[in-house]
């Protein structure tokens, strides 16, 4: 026994291993910290440049947040954010009307109805849809969807919010359906069995058992998808036009037929205009960016809240 214990050596054979271990740890930390640093840097630049914008002659905080007119010329203009915000909200709302029912229905089909074979065909197709560059969607909206809408008798102008909204909706369907399907697939099978055992049909089990049990995940998918819709740029720039127009409250449908400029498109036109750096029009981009950032940030918080609020515990 005593002889054997001599053979056991627990001292560090070399300090190299310890040093290496430390290096790994710091490398991993640096990568994790990078994301935090970039986020902080973005917020900082948005905030400082937005403040610079509000300090210019043509802009003011109250004018920005209460104004209903947005005219951005290279030599200045009027900067009321509401025409852009209402266009963004219109596009978000209509795209949700397209994506939410379609996405949930597709998720129910994939999760509850589809055979393994069908699922193995449909899921990659949805992933392809999710992988299409948004500029392609924008081009489809402008070149095919808008003429198609005109052909079936909807009097849309060449650039219009309806076409852009529908295309944004199509773009976010894969997001809604794949996240919703994940939520539905994680519903325990025992609940489905309980439903079938009670003499429920497949549709009744899907709508009455699976969807309610997965509702937190489904809501999260809506909110994340709508955050995408709010931030979507290429489609709206190409299909909705670049002319800011205040929302017409007396005839809401009219807003869909004519062109409009959502916030992202407003930023694009600011950065591509002749306005020089430091001018109010150029700097307005940062104020818009900050507003957009706050909106999507709040939506992500809401998504987390909803997910935790309606989370059901199983076993």
């Amino acid at each position: 026994m005593s002889e054997r214990s001599i053979d056991v050596d627990l001292t560090r054979s070399s300090s190299g291993r310890v040093v290496k271990e430390r290096i790994y740890k710091w490398l991993l930390f640096a990568c994790a910290a990078l994301t935090v640093f970039v986020t902080a840097a973005i917020i900082y630049t948005l905030a400082t440049d937005a403040i610079a914008f509000f300090m210019t002659e043509d802009a003011s905080v109250t004018g920005f947040f209460t104004g209903t007119e947005w005219i951005a010329r290279s030599d200045g203009g009027t900067f009321g954010v509401w025409p852009l915000v209402t266009a963004t909200l219109t596009i978000t709302f209509v795209s949700a009307l397209v994506a939410v029912p379609t996405g949930v229905a597709a998720a129910v089909y994939l999760s509850e109805y589809a055979s393994d074979r069908m699922r193995s065909i449909l899921k990659p197709s949805l992933e392809i849809l999710a992988g299409i560059p948004t500029v392609v969607y924008g081009y489809l909206a402008l070149v095919y969807l808008t003429p198609a809408l005109q052909w079936i008798g909807i009097p849309v102008s060449t650039f219009n919010l309806l076409s852009a909204s529908v295309m944004v909706g199509i773009m976010i369907i894969p997001m809604v359906s794949s996240l919703s399907e994940d939520a539905m697939s994680s519903v325990p099978d025992s609940l489905r069995q309980a439903g079938y055992g009670m003499g429920a049909t497949k549709y009744e089990v899907s709508t009455g058992v699976v969807i309610p049990a997965a509702i937190s995940g489904i809501f999260s998918s809506f909110i994340l998808a709508l955050s995408r819709a709010i931030g979507e740029t290429m489609i709206v720039v190409m299909a909705a036009g670049l002319r800011p127009r205040m929302f017409n409250f007396t005839n809401p449908l009219d807003n869909l037929l004519s062109s409009g400029q959502p916030m992202t498109a407003g930023m694009v036109s600011a950065v591509t205009s002749d306005a020089t750096g430091g001018s109010a029009t150029y700097l307005s981009m940062f104020a818009l960016g900050l507003t957009l950032f706050v909106i999507t940030f709040v939506m992500n918080l809401a998504s987390d809240y909803v997910a935790s609020r309606y989370q059901e515990e199983y076993q």
């Binding site: 069995q193 309980a194 009670m198 429920a200 309610p212 059901e312 199983y314």
Partner: protein, 296 residues
Amino acid sequence: MTQDSMTNPDSRTDSQSTDLERSNQTSDPLVDSSIDTGQSGGSGGETRTVIESRDLDVFYDETQALQSVDIEIPAEKVTAIIGPSGCGKSTFLRCINRMNDLVDAARIEGALNFEGKNVYDDDVDPVVLRRKIGMVFQSPNPFPKSIYDNVAYGLNVQGIEGDYDAIVEKALRRAALWDEVKDQLDSSGLDLSGGQQQRLCIARAIAPDPDVLLMDEPASALDPVATSKIEDLIEELSEEYTVVIVTHNMQQAARISDKTAVFLTGGELAEFDNTDKIFENPESQRVEDYITGKFG
């Protein structure tokens, strides 16, 4: 259909519950006779058979789970199905209400008659069948809904009309849960303890008033106190329902059942007789070995 409901004005789900066919044809003599037996069953002879299987084979892919099972399950009695793990007892139970349909790999041969009608006939709608046969599962699986909505679920999907409050209360009382939950009917079924959840599932199963109650090891996930409550409940339920219970607990089978079926490895029904006979003087040596704990 109209004529049918006129001749049975007080039978509330008559048009859908008296036959298992997708269409409500009443011309099939098999189905018609099942109406008669179904309605006179309570006062009928002790040996009236509700469920019988004839040469029933079940395969999961190439594996045979049941081998030519012949069994006759009597009405308003507790029939226990016991046997070692993997002997096909749950498989048999799930054949009765066609829950095996949900398993793609399952293949069923032979006949399983419910009230004289083979439930695997092409014209049988499993949804209608399951409305006549309630099921309680191994571990409690209440829906993430309120206690009230859990019990009312079957009433809703089966389109049963009536005073839901009264039906829910009656079902919860029969499941011996009413006194514990009457003040919290709106709280989630998942907030209850395991034993309460299982009684909730029993209330949910009996609320639409099925003819048969299938129970798949209903107490296996519960502690002894909750188990004894469930056992008392099963004895009471057998006054009104035909109960078929799968259990791995032989004492439980001996305590609560009138008839016992012993399945042995390979999915073979080794013996089926009165429970006393099975536990005191089984015919087969293998069953005796199993009962006395020599294997299994």
